[in-house]
Amino acid sequence: MHDIILEKKVMAKNDEVAARNRELLRGARIFSINLVSGPGAGKTSIIEKSTPYLKAAIGPIAVIEGDLETDLDAKRLSKCDIPVKQITTGKTCHLDALMIEKALPWVLEQKAARLLIIENVGNMVCPAEYDLGEEMLVTVLSTAEGDDKPLKYPAIFSKADVLIINKADLTAHTDFNIDSARANALKINPGLKVFETSCYTGAGIEEWTGFLSSVAINYSTTKSGV
């Protein structure tokens, strides 16, 4: 019998593919974001509300839509006049880098796309372990949930670059305390950039898209030709 030291990363294969995805997107000067949240926090609505601003500021957008079943969200987004590629994961509760790799030829076919939005499967646990090759991880939390969620699901908040607190217009009707949610998230990840939005009133969408646009534009000018 032998005891063999391996010291290998369990996620090595995913991470290698994610690195390739990142290189490919960088080479094509496409900025990419990975949008994650629990089910029903409003990821699709945020995309719907954000795209007019993002298209005007950054240029053409492509969306990869991840769902367990159905292409309902893809159909919804198609109405926004943006190309959408649906990935139906079946029983898998997250997108992984290999699924994105398969969809990248489609992304590159989209004329002059400058921004790729990947909407992950609604789940706050599993997507945290899977780097897709994105440049920015955006976690969405809605006021219809608990303001202690960052403490309950620390992995997804600790890795995020941006936190969007959505459905801000509902706070009058819930026990959700935006200041507590913000403080809980910042305790885990002091570098988080936090936005409050309402897809119902449109509040905060300009601030969030303004931030994303400035980062994406800066990226495409500094990373061009990589």
């Binding site: 063999i4 646990v125 305790k187």
Partner: protein, 113 residues
Amino acid sequence: MHELSIAKNIFELIDAEMIKCGAKELKSLKVRIGELTAVDPEALRFAFDSCILNTHMQGAAIIIEEVALTGWCAECAREFAIIDYSNICPHCNCTSIERLTGTELDIISMEVF
């Protein structure tokens, strides 16, 4: 329940390593799971046991080493245990924290015949 996908990753990695060293049977493997990963050790154990049923790894034990979060403060240059995932230095209250341990998801070793 992404532990099943992770268990499959582990299965594939171990399978490749067993082929590499000509091993026929797996007695045990050791993995390291950090506190901040989104992996539940018991769910992973259950998923791995399901993955190895009726394979050459059947009966192998998965030994899980859980690693607590620790950090290092760049301001006061001290190491400390991170409590409740807080990325704020308990000594000087600054946020220039580097996580030292607690984010691992590694296969440490395997015992084979």
